[in-house]
């Protein structure tokens, strides 16, 4: 939901504007699904007690991680009742049997223990991540699902016009050991290791040639372009901004990564997985 971080990526500012989520497999930082809100601190001894009781009396149905268990108990991490609980006033009656008609049996335990379980549940809810991410998640499985032989065939038919595993891509799997980063990078045509702009290299630098009405050419690195002006960084280190009026003057933009973007609609996911499976063998 929602328009999150708008990632403005245009042909002209592609190299500068690439941003991406972290590539590491470590869990996302948790806490703060309600930004700015401070949840009341829980008593650690009560939480410990509650965790033990939860393990004995609740886990089988609601899961060790509160995300729902094998025998049908609902996910407590997203339970509106649990989320609204302040001091056991909502959770304790349920433990004591107020929702039996809905299938939740009364659980025999003392009121003190029920309050301890509620405190434990609240303490876990406090670690839910932004946009509702659960506090615990499995390690993501390997993304290597493709067929390297098929990938090699695809690579030789679509990629060798510009690339070679003995040339520019020599040792690519050693240089980019994480298969997911490798896949992101070869598809995008530039190294995608983390957030922030991708390093600019001659391979991904967009250039422009502007032919003025008197025939003079202004060329260099494209700084920016819109309907009204084009700015070029010239070889002498200066920048020149030229007014545009429709097709006048003529502007030719050369974007080395255009070929990559043109392939986005062409790849099947299998093509992509196969090429990645092939490239991880190029050590």
């Amino acid at each position: 939901m929602y328009w999150r971080l708008a990632i403005p990526i245009s042909l002209a500012c592609l190299t500068a504007a690439f941003a991406q989520p972290p590539q590491t497999a470590t869990p996302r930082p948790t806490g703060g699904f309600v930004p700015g809100q401070k949840r009341a601190a829980e008593d650690p001894a009560q939480v410990d007690r509650g965790k033990s009781i939860y393990g004995i009396s609740c886990r089988a149905c609601h899961g060790a991680d509160l995300r729902g268990g094998d025998i049908g108990g609902p996910n407590l991490l997203r339970s509106q009742l649990s989320l609204s609980d302040q001091k056991g006033e909502k959770i304790v009656p349920v433990i004591q049997g107020s929702l039996q008609a809905g299938g939740m049996p009364a659980i025999p335990m003392s009121p003190e223990d029920a309050h301890a379980v509620a405190a434990y549940v609240r303490s876990v809810l406090g670690t839910i991540g932004g946009q509702g991410r659960p506090p615990s998640a499995m390690e993501p499985p390997s993304i290597l699902v493709g067929n390297a032989a098929d990938g090699k065939v695809f690579f030789q038919s679509k990629c060798t016009g510009c690339h070679s595993v003995d040339g520019d891509l020599k040792g690519i799997a050693t240089r980019i050991p994480d298969p997911r980063v490798l896949q992101n990078s070869w598809v995008a045509g530039m190294l995608r290791t983390g957030r922030g702009p991708a390093p600019q290299t001659p391979r991904n630098t967009v250039t422009a040639v502007v032919t003025l009405t008197d025939g003079q050419k202004v060329e260099g690195k494209l700084v920016r372009i819109d309907d009204f002006t084009v700015t070029v960084a010239k070889a002498d280190g200066t920048q020149q901004t030229i007014r545009r009026d429709g097709d006048v003057p003529k502007v030719e933009v050369k974007d080395p990564l255009a070929a990559h973007r043109e392939l986005y609609p062409v790849y099947t996911d299998k093509n992509m997985h196969d090429v990645t499976a092939y490239l991880v063998t190029v050590k």
């Binding site: 929602y2 245009s10 690439f18 309600v34 609902p74 996910n75 991490l77 998640a137 993501p140 986005y264």
Partner: protein
């Protein structure tokens, strides 16, 4: 009345006009076509964002010039004291403070993403937790209201509603606040939803008669709903849930369980359009949760997520629905502004509602019955669906869900368009919408069969765009008639079209541009920065003003 007295009364009227005395807005005024004022989110109920003003037109727009600009400063003043100075010679501006929070939570959100109301010489503008009245003649502040938040996602606020002499604003910590328009003084506030359940409220309320229609948002698997409050008393009139909440509710058979439905999402975070003839408020709903996988939702359509739903404003009952993204797995909320069009289909006059959804598809429906008439794919590379289902909605392709190996999908989760309001001109018959054709790699990172929660369990790697456009769609056929290429992420904030034959939009490269509404050709531009809220227009002293916001700054343009 003597002649002198009449003269004095006239003088008084002129003086109060000069000093921007507040003129009440009776709810009937919102039924009129959009003209001198801009008294509700979309200007009028139709969602067209089509102004009948035409002093600024294809011939004169070249003379459009800056009248004034003002930078809005949200929050409490840095130093203590009541009010603060504005500009070199401005008097202190009264600051009203409300709210139930501690007052020290700086939750951000200092960007104008609101539709700005313009009524009789005064503009009403918001950021999350902040509202201002500004003189529309010269941009001076009249008052500032600040809400001390308890927290919540401060992603944006879409503006206020006006009813008689009152204003209504939603807050990120889920209150509906009623202010006196003249002074900014708070009259009351009411609870919309529980902050602890992860709700956060961004929409502009919509006033219909004495109803104040209020939506909300949530990312953590809570049910969506629409509320109606009484404009005078703030009493809750009805609550309509957008997912099944109990046995027997319609749509329950499209979920694997009641528990899944009750955590299914379908938030109501963008205002809808209202049809006075049927008394139906038509609003788009948000994504199902968990957003990026089936989890325990089941394989069904998950109603009424990602749908247009038509709700009777007196009863809160749903009259019809149409699902634009059945079983969504890419966070393609259908929270786009639906647009009411009185048009002709197959030679017959029809009362229509049209929408260009975030998922790359365009729809024309009968707004009385919900009958689908047209479905087309307007996103150039939209690839997440495999044809249409039996209802004429896109059939979701499971192969394009987030996968372990990665799926290459267009559009990105931000969609071909997001919340930015579109526009429709009855003069050209064209529906205008920003069209972003980005691609992303979607990885499923949490393979737990119970599913993740909220927007978790996936990683999305944006790959760049295969083309961003300002696009014009024929509502009769759903075909794109023309595309104007944008070099940036254009259309941010939304669109405005006018009887002057113009279409206003930001181009994503820092320009505010007036296009020819017939063909998209740029006719005028000014480089004021990227547009953050939909431009609008009003008439004052016989002059047409066009206003736009860039971040924290408001700009007004008038013909020289």
């Amino acid at each position: 009345m003597t002649k002198n007295l009449a003269y004095a009364a006239l003088l008084l009227a002129a003086a109060s006009s000069c000093f921007g005395q507040i003129r009440p807005v009776p709810p009937e005024e919102l039924l009129k076509p959009l003209g001198a004022n801009w008294p509700t989110y979309n200007g009028d109920y139709s969602g067209r964002r089509f102004s009948s003003l035409k002093a600024v037109n294809t011939q004169t727009v070249k003379n459009l010039s800056l009248a004034w600009s003002i930078k809005m400063t949200p929050g409490m003043p840095q130093a203590g004291g009541f009010g603060r100075g504005r500009g070199p010679a401005g008097p202190p501006v009264p600051l009203m403070v409300g709210g139930e929070g501690p007052g020290d939570i700086n939750a951000g959100g200092g960007t104008i993403k609101a539709s700005i109301l313009a009524v009789a010489g005064i503009l009403y503008v918001t950021m999350p937790d902040n509202a201002w009245a500004v003189y529309s003649r010269d941009g001076r502040e009249l008052w500032h209201y600040f809400w001390k938040t308890r927290g919540g996602t401060h992603i944006g606020n879409r503006g206020m509603a006006i009813w008689k002499d009152r204003l209504y604003m939603e807050t990120p910590d889920n209150y509906l606040v009623c202010l006196e328009a003249k002074t900014g003084k708070e009259l009351w506030h009411k609870t919309i939803a529980d902050l602890d359940q992860g709700y956060f409220s961004t929409p502009a309320p919509i006033v219909v008669g004495n109803h104040v229609l209020v939506g909300t948002g949530n990312d953590i698997d809570s049910p969506g709903f629409l509320l109606s409050f009484h404009a005078e008393t703030g009493e809750l009139e009805w609550k309509h849930y957008t997912v099944p909440m109990k046995k027997g509710d319609p749509g329950l058979d499209t979920w694997a369980s009641l528990d899944a439905a009750r955590h299914g999402g379908a938030q109501t975070w963008i205002p809808g359009a209202y049809d006075p003839e049927t008394k139906l408020y038509i609003i788009g709903t948000g994504n199902p949760t968990p957003a990026y996988m089936t989890g325990k939702r089941g394989e069904g359509d998950n109603l009424f997520t990602c749908s247009l739903v038509a709700i009777n404003v007196d009863t809160g009952k749903m009259a019809w629905y149409f699902q634009t993204s059945p079983h969504d797995t890419h966070d393609y909320d259908s929270a786009q502004t639906p647009v009411l069009v009185d048009g002709v289909i197959d030679g017959k006059p029809r009362k229509l509602v049209v929408t260009a959804a975030r998922n790359g598809y365009f729809f024309t429906l009968d707004r009385v019955t919900g009958e689908r008439l047209v479905t087309t794919k307007y996103g150039q590379y939209t690839n997440w669906a495999k044809g249409l289902n039996k209802f004429g909605g896109p059939e979701h392709d499971p192969m394009k869900d987030p996968t372990v190996g990665g799926a290459i999908v267009s559009p990105t989760s931000d969609g071909t368009v997001n919340w930015q309001p579109p526009a429709f001109s009855p003069d050209t018959g064209l529906f205008y919408v920003p069209e972003g054709n980005g691609f992303s790699l979607f990885y499923l990172t949490d393979v737990d069969p119970r599913g993740s929660m909220g927007l978790g369990g996936k990683e999305e790697v944006p790959l760049g765009t295969a083309g961003n456009y300002l696009s014009a769609i024929d509502y009769k056929t759903g075909k794109v008639v023309w595309r104007h290429k944008w070099y940036g992420n254009g259309g941010s904030g939304g669109l405005l079209t006018t009887a002057g034959g113009l279409l206003f939009a930001g181009d994503g490269m820092g320009n505010f541009v007036a296009h020819d509404a017939r063909n998209g050709k740029p006719l005028w531009h000014t480089r004021i920065g990227n547009i953050s809220s939909a431009p609008s227009t009003y008439l004052l002293d016989g002059h047409q003003y066009v206003i736009a916001a860039t971040g924290d700054t408001l700009w007004a343009f008038v013909l020289n």
